[in-house]
Homo-oligomer: 349 residues x 3
């Protein structure tokens, strides 16, 4: 258990200490659950009531809220980011020892930089390169000629297909599959009624630096050119990135979203969960998309876009949904009413 | 091949035998596919015609249907549950032998209770605890300090991150990932245009007793406090449970559903497939949600809720969907018509 | 690096060479990215401008476009399929050597046909059969009594549960789980408020010949009878095929789609991404379904069906979506207007 004083934190991370700089904190907590050994943070002023009721040992808050509590505190420009750094100091993620586990399988033709760690039953293929301080978890698979950058962590069971590349300081969580074949099929008509012919997927999947990918997300290799996830991207769990897609730097995508082939997503986009984006589209930079929206056309203007169907009591939903099937008829009907009414009005005039 | 008589079944499971109690059955089947060595069940009266045509050796049915057939039969209160128990007797799932496989990697600091089974290439970390009779499948990973309860089964390739806990008598299917990092990111503005900073996820994922989790479902660890799946919950495949979510006891969730961070789901809810539930909501007990619904507000009243868009012929869909973009205009137009018509009516009066 | 002349290609694959048959090509590329060592193809006439600007060494095109360029070229009936075959010749996928890796675990009761390849840490259970030339990747799991057909490839980490079968010449990508338990639960009311009882899933999952399944897709075993994927089917990533489903031959399903239990899909269907299909439905042959559609009724007529909600600027979406909750009221209101107007018109006449 690490313990640090507010003074220690300010020396390491900046910010202004108010109250006793010798206050020691051992763990992070929410304002509500914190006890006097914990440090919490104020995310937003709508939580001021929770701040006032908090039993936290110390609090991180924005400079404009520096006087909102008498608790020992650190005032700073970005409390969320500051809290993230404190949490990393107080709760370091367990890191396996460097070196190759006796039960790992590393091909003689692979290159491991110093301090790389390879876990039990991991497989590193011929020609693969593992960067300095990288962590290849148990059961992870790094295919022939694939590359893992320095200080990147593949959690247990990650699969990186042949020839694919992951940059530096990335985190790929368990179940992530990078570089499986994209969905490429050519239809062949024939006497049998027709069948699919596989189109070989000869591109790669390339992941930039500082990318995090959540559990069970898949990033397919390109059909001809590469699928690319640019630096700083955040992908949540169970996301599908199809072949030839490019996701721009610092874009964040929430879980269960699927992006179809050859679509290009801009930089700093924020895409909600369970969104679907059709193939061959271009989404410009700084676009926000609401949860469960289906995007069927390119978006050329930064802004916020949505399109999920409203939920309601199931009986009402049945009544309203059935009318959608007649919505165009309703529109025509209203147009007719409009005309007839105008005619009556003219008569009446 | 096990074979049991109806008398054997009634002694073990209760119910009333009608017809020859010496009738032997070897396997379960549907009413339609059963032959005279099979036992089938009547789920609902809409299948009475299939009962009458059935060649089953025996049938399980509700007491009120006790005379609906001349076949040897067992009448009971809940035929579906009775059938489940008969299937478990006639078709036991293959269970690996107890003991640690020679090719498993069990840390010296791990604790294994008697009769636990650890399969080939499984990894059990330092400080982990495996309960009595638990089955850790091939390639499964139990992280540092994680706990697996008695008689729980991790199927091949399940990943349980460090510090997480799974209760007793659970089934976690292949590809399940419990305890990967939640999607926690703080935005830092800067000269580079801005970037994400990872927020360490220091909570755990806690799974109660008697929970079943389907293939490739992910349950993230909590950001600060824990993500909790209460006892008796049923999660289907490819579900996303985000950080800090709590799923109440005996709730069942169908495949491809995603629940965003910090949402609390009540007890005994029945949530359809491909549902999306936004973050920070509260869904009360005994709520039913239809497939593909997006839930954007808390639900405080038990009941049934839905909201999926109706499908139709693609040409009609194009016509109707385009009008939704003008629905509010249509409403305003109808209001205007209403006013003008009222005016005419007053004139005419 | 393989290099082939257009003459070599035409001898192997047919088609008519126009221009220099000695032109050598080393790799495939797009019309835009190709240099003079690459061969590209013209998919559709809307890319004719790209053809005219292309620096490709050679081009594959349809016979009707044989004179659309002066580049060395091959004219054929189906350029997409021709291109697929050329790509397979120029870019063969790395194939592990036949034989059982020293670090694999193959049960003495398993049968391996000649030239099968079993990778490091793969597990083959008792009674399993691996066909001639099949490739079982690293960390793949073939359960007790399961069968893998000739020349089928299980990529690293694929899980095939006990008793399930995969046909010949299939590709199952990493993270695919075939044969996990379906979502079978019987509700038992009781003094505890009720709980679920697991219904054993005693059927199998059966995959036909020439099937490809994308990363992290799940195909559950049947509840009583089998789940069946017929020959030539294409499943993309992160798809859920529930218990007892049957997918007809040569049907293609895009990523993130879920098909609920006991539904039957016809042959040669083309199902978009993120589609949901309810349980116990029948979809006939040759049906096309648009992305993100929810199918709630059987489809008995071949054709194209859709039903996704249109997206738009978030502010407009809020206005329009709220009106959907009152759509049925709007319809009633328009009907009343209609009546009142007709009455006025009669008066006026």
């Amino acid at each position: 258990m690490t313990a640090l004083t507010l003074g220690d934190l300010a020396r390491a991370l900046g910010g202004e200490v108010l109250g006793d700089a010798q206050t020691r904190v051992e763990n992070v907590a929410t304002l509500e659950s914190a006890d006097n050994r914990a440090i919490a943070f104020l995310m937003h002023e709508r939580f001021l009531a929770q701040l006032h009721a908090s039993r936290a040992g110390a609090v991180i808050l924005a400079t404009r809220h520096r006087d909102a509590t008498a608790l020992p505190r650190i005032a700073c420009a970005n409390p969320h980011a500051y809290f993230a750094r404190v949490a990393a100091l107080l709760h370091p993620t367990p890191l396996p020892a460097p070196g190759v586990h006796a039960l790992a399988s590393v091909h003689a033709g692979a290159t491991l930089e110093p301090n790389a760690s390879v876990g039990p039953y991991a497989v590193i293929g011929d020609g693969a390169r593992i960067g300095e301080g990288a962590v290849i978890g148990a059961h992870a698979y790094v295919g022939v000629g694939a590359t893992v950058g320095a200080r990147t962590r593949l959690w247990p069971g990650v699969v990186l297909y042949h020839g694919c590349r992951v940059g530096e300081r990335c985190q790929l969580h368990s179940g992530v599959v990078v570089g499986a074949d994209g969905f490429g099929n050519a239809w062949e008509q024939g006497d049998d009624g027709g069948h699919w012919l596989k189109v070989p997927q000869v591109g790669r999947a390339i992941i930039g630096d500082d990318v995090e990918i959540g559990a069970n997300t898949t990033v397919d290799r390109g059909a001809i050119e590469d699928t690319v996830i640019e630096q700083g991207v955040r992908l949540d769990n169970l996301i599908m990135i199809a072949h030839n897609v490019r996701v721009g730097a610092h874009t964040a995508i929430a879980a269960c979203t699927g992006i179809a082939g050859s679509t290009r997503i801009g930089k700093r986009c924020r895409i909600g969960g369970a969104v679907g984006i059709s193939g061959h589209l271009t989404i410009t930079d700084d676009v926000e998309i609401g949860g469960k929206t289906m995007i069927t056309k390119s978006i050329t203007k930064a802004g916020s876009y949505s399109g999920s169907y409203p939920f309601e009591d199931t009986r009402l939903w049945r009544r309203n949904a059935v009318q959608i099937r007649h919505l165009d008829e309703l529109v025509q009907q209203v147009k007719q009413l409009e005309k007839r009414l105008a005619q009556l009005e003219r008569k009446g005039a």
